[in-house]
């Protein structure tokens, strides 16, 4: 496991595009679940090509925040802009945003009644209006890239957890998104399988994909992240490069969190 936040490799070269407008902007975002204030004045900007890792204790609002980005959750105050388009109740804008934002879930959420290939080709065929043959070739290409092309005709129930998560990543990639959101992708996996999924994500990062990743895998953060954002109780407490956040924590809360992570391993 990632004890003492060792790195599993050389830090991936940065691919941040400063010339393009920011991919994601969160501007004073507030969200309540009933009376519970779960996101407090969250400000975040993610540039195109930037890789952001969000960490924090459970209940800190990390998952809620990234689920607001593709409007799986709605925010009550503040603005969220994805690729320049503001998130609101406008359905067409929402469809445009969701087409370009891919999401990978903690519980994989593969469609169990469809084969792996059908899982991957469903959205390209029906949302991007791709012809079936082209969609299948695309799907096989991505399944090969995540190293499970031989499983294409199987059903998700027949695959291991690590394989299912890699299929989920391939499925999201088949839509050729500009931004990838990862909501604790390895939290439901056995230690042996975590590595195969993280390797896939590192490969993705090396290709310059804009990504926001909520994770507890600090080794991954060290290797891949351009920026680490620490959240606690709904607020962004600290953010900076992995070096700054892990080696030079400024706030007490971050220091407490880091000590717990280190002690836990």
């Amino acid at each position: 496991m990632s004890a003492a936040i060792e790195t599993s490799g050389v830090h991936i070269a940065s691919s941040v595009r400063t010339d393009a407008p920011p991919a994601i902007v969160l501007d004073k975002v507030n969200k309540w679940y009933g009376a519970l204030h779960v996101l407090r004045d969250v400000d975040l900007q993610v540039a195109l090509g930037e890789r952001v890792v969000v960490c924090g204790p459970s209940g800190s609002g990390k998952s809620t925040m990234i689920r607001c980005i593709n409007r799986l959750e709605t925010h009550q105050e503040g603005r969220i802009l994805v690729d320049g388009i503001q998130l609101s109740d406008d359905l067409r804008a929402l469809d445009a945003i969701r087409r370009d934002v891919g999401m990978v879930f903690q519980s994989f959420n593969l469609f169990p009644h469809l084969t792996i290939l059908e899982n991957c080709t469903l959205a390209p065929i029906w949302v991007r209006k791709m012809p079936k043959k082209q969609a299948e070739e695309l799907a096989m290409e991505y399944l090969t890239r995540v190293r499970i092309p031989e499983q294409a005709k199987k059903y998700p129930g027949q695959l291991s957890g690590g394989q299912q998560q890699r299929v989920a990543i391939a499925r999201a990639l088949c839509m050729k998104p500009k931004i990838m959101l990862f909501d604790e992708p390895t939290s439901a996996l056995d230690p042996e399988m975590i590595k195969e999924v993280l390797d896939t994500m590192v490969m993705l990062a090396a290709e310059g994909m804009t990504m926001i990743c909520v994770t507890h895998e600090m080794g991954f953060a060290r290797q891949v992240a351009d920026r680490v954002v620490f959240m606690d109780r709904g607020e962004v407490v600290e953010s900076g490069t992995p070096d700054q956040v892990f080696n030079d924590p400024k706030t007490e809360r971050l220091k407490l969190f880091l000590s717990q992570i280190l002690r836990g391993h």
Partner: protein, 381 residues
């Protein structure tokens, strides 16, 4: 990269597997374990076996050995049923079936034209069989249904192609049951899916309408709905416009079944993990794409048992149209023994009618088991 599906068994060879000992598997072992596993179990088995054998012998005696299969008919066409009455209780009088089966099956339909409703019944059965085969689950099913139902309509009504016209009041028996059940469930099922989706809609108007529909319909008995359809409906129609009784009964059955099925489907929609909805949303699928490709296929698979349960129940509920004077299979059976010479042979009539219902309902039940097993193959590893 390690492939986790390679399991450990192939990595290290073990001892070759042996066959299990004979005494613990196979039919003899089952009997020993379940029927004769101890003194109490053996005693219960023997007592139950005695009663079961006695009952079976009794039924065989009554139904076959002592039964009378035909009775003589005198010069006036009245059946001489004295022999049957003497045997009452010890032997079945299947002669009533032999005499009256055409009335029970086809009601007051003209005697010479009975071949038409007979073909109609066979067409319905054929339609069920074709619709059941997964091979036909494509758009081709719609024209098949449309064509078959048109032919059924032509055969029952007549008036064209040289067939004599038979007004709807004379229809009866099995065709009426099948018409009411088939049209009823064929329209109620899509209606129920729409209502179930509507109840979960975020648009308040749609949600309220669907909730009202379900709660109002579920709040009244089917009989009262049939009464309302038959008596009140014409009051609301403009002068001179008349919807015939069968159609009114049909609409009532569709609305009633739709409400119950809607709740069953809604159960399935709720049982689906939220992650499925979220993954479909995150991929940018529209509402109908999500519902049609992801949600409904899974939700309906989940609720096949209660769905088929409701279907079977409604198939038999069609017998309630007796209340508004429509002759379905059960009513025709009852009416067959109103005649003085055949009075009192209700048991044989109800056994006959019951067997017909049983045939259809059991077929539905068996089919649903097969369907469940086939559709859930993806869940088996």
């Amino acid at each position: 990269m390690s492939d986790i599906t390679l399991n450990a068994a192939t990595a290290t060879p073990e001892a070759t597997p042996r066959n299990p000992p004979v005494a613990t598997t196979g039919p003899i072992a089952w009997v020993r374990a379940n029927l004769f596993s101890g003194w109490l179990s053996t005693a219960v088995t023997l007592v139950l076996a005695y009663f079961i054998v006695k009952a079976i012998i009794g039924v065989i005696d009554w139904a076959f050995i002592n039964a009378i299969w035909t009775v003589p008919v005198n010069a006036n066409g009245v059946a001489q049923t004295q022999a049957c009455r003497d045997l009452h209780g010890t032997g079945a009088c299947w002669a009533v079936i032999a005499e009256k089966h055409r009335f029970m099956l086809f009601g007051t339909y003209p005697y010479d034209e009975h071949w038409r409703p007979a073909i109609v019944c066979l067409l319905f059965i054929g339609l069920y069989i074709v619709s059941a085969m997964r091979r036909f689950w494509t758009w081709v099913l719609i024209p098949i249904w449309a064509a078959t139902l048109t032919v059924i309509g032509i055969l029952m009504w007549g008036g064209i192609f040289g067939l004599t016209y038979v007004p709807q009041e004379r229809w009866g028996g099995l065709p009426i049951t099948l018409i009411l059940a088939t049209f009823g469930l064929a329209f109620a099922f899509p209606l129920s899916i729409l209502v179930a989706l509507g109840r979960r809609s975020s648009l308040p108007a749609i949600k309220v309408i669907c909730v009202l529909y379900v709660e109002l319909i579920r709040g009244v008995p089917l009989i009262s709905l049939l009464f309302m359809a038959s008596v009140m409906f014409p009051l609301f129609l403009p002068e001179g416009m008349n919807i015939d009784k069968l159609l009114r009964a049909q609409i009532a059955i569709i609305l009633f079944a739709g409400a119950y099925l809607a709740e069953v489907v809604r159960g399935g929609l709720q049982a689906l993990p939220k992650g499925q909805y979220e993954a479909a949303d995150a991929m940018g699928l529209s509402y109908w794409q999500k519902t049609g490709f992801i949600i409904l296929p899974q939700a309906l698979r989940l609720v096949i048992p209660p769905l088929v349960n409701t279907f079977i129940g409604f198939f038999k509920d069609t017998s309630l149209v007796l209340i508004i004077g429509i002759f379905d299979l059960l009513t025709a059976g009852k009416t067959a023994i109103v005649e003085p010479s055949w009075q009192g042979f209700g048991v044989e009539v109800y056994v006959f009618v019951g067997l017909i219902y049983l045939a259809f309902c059991f077929a539905m039940s068996k089919y649903s088991q097969g369907l469940e097993a086939e559709l859930n193959r993806h869940r088996r590893r």
